[in-house]
């Protein structure tokens, strides 16, 4: 059973890697990334609070932490996005068992 779980995690990591990583190292800054990175580079990561205070205040804290960790290297952000996507799929593996039976019971 334990082996089966790890196999599932490995399959999910492999699928996510195929979906998100092959070209990740080739991507640079796109669209709004430019001025976000410019502002943070020139004014410091605290500047994100000023940008996002308009509508999404908590986002400033996340971007501040991300910029402090990853700096100006876009590849680091690609990797963290990959990790977050894996984490958004992994929890479902734990609650999807007997999903079919559950749906059948409702129908």
């Amino acid at each position: 059973m334990q082996k089966k779980n790890w196999l599932g995690v490995f399959v999910m990591l492999a699928v996510a890697a195929i979906a998100y990583l092959p070209l990740a190292h080739q991507f640079g800054f796109l669209n709004d990334d430019w001025y976000l990175m410019f502002d943070a580079h020139v004014s410091g990561s605290g500047f994100f609070h000023e940008i996002y205070s308009i509508d999404r205040p908590l986002r400033g804290y996340l971007m501040q932490a991300a910029f402090s960790l990853f700096g100006l290297n876009p590849f680091n952000y690609q990797i963290s996005a990959f990790v977050f996507r894996v984490f958004s799929g992994l929890p479902c593996s734990g609650c999807s068992t007997n999903c079919g039976a559950r749906v059948n019971s409702i129908i």
Partner: protein, 148 residues
């Protein structure tokens, strides 16, 4: 299979610029994690103890002041909770509905509180910082220019 589906769905067209969309991708992970914890807690019949508690902060993180449209996760949660309680055929319909509502109540309070704050109390600043607008206008010259 469901887990693999959620690895790639919902897809973000802007997954390739994760600097700007870091918050969205992070919120998606928080939302999925929170809904999964809620389902786990109900299935383990520990709705108000251990397992369900961590789902509250994650639910708060995914919508509250991070990315407001992830409030849609609460609909997914409501449907999931409803399905799980609907399966308890030995109980009356009223009991099932009441149990589902009680399990969903903390999240309803959280989402409702957020909506009230977002609609009535958030005071957006008059305009974004100047340098942001300078660059936005440089890359998107057709957008209206700021007044300042």
């Amino acid at each position: 299979m469901a887990a693999i589906l959620f690895l790639i769905y919902p897809g973000f067209l802007s997954q390739i610029n994760p600097i700007d969309y870091q918050a969205q991708i992070f919120s998606l992970a928080c939302g999925m994690f929170s809904v999964a914890l809620t389902i786990k807690a109900i299935r383990a019949e520990k709705c108000l103890s251990g397992l369900s508690l961590p789902s509250y902060p994650f639910a708060w993180l995914d919508i509250s002041r991070m990315v407001e449209y992830f409030i849609g996760f609460e609909v997914l949660r409501l449907i999931s909770v409803g399905i799980l309680y609907w399966r308890e055929h030995e109980k009356t319909i009223t009991t099932r509905l009441t149990s589902a509502f009680m399990a969903f109540l903390p999240f309803l309070a959280s989402a409702g509180g957020f909506l009230i704050w977002r609609l009535f109390f958030l005071k957006p600043s008059a305009k974004p910082p100047m340098s942001v607008y300078k660059f936005r206008n440089y890359f998107h010259p057709r957008l209206p220019r700021s007044g300042g």
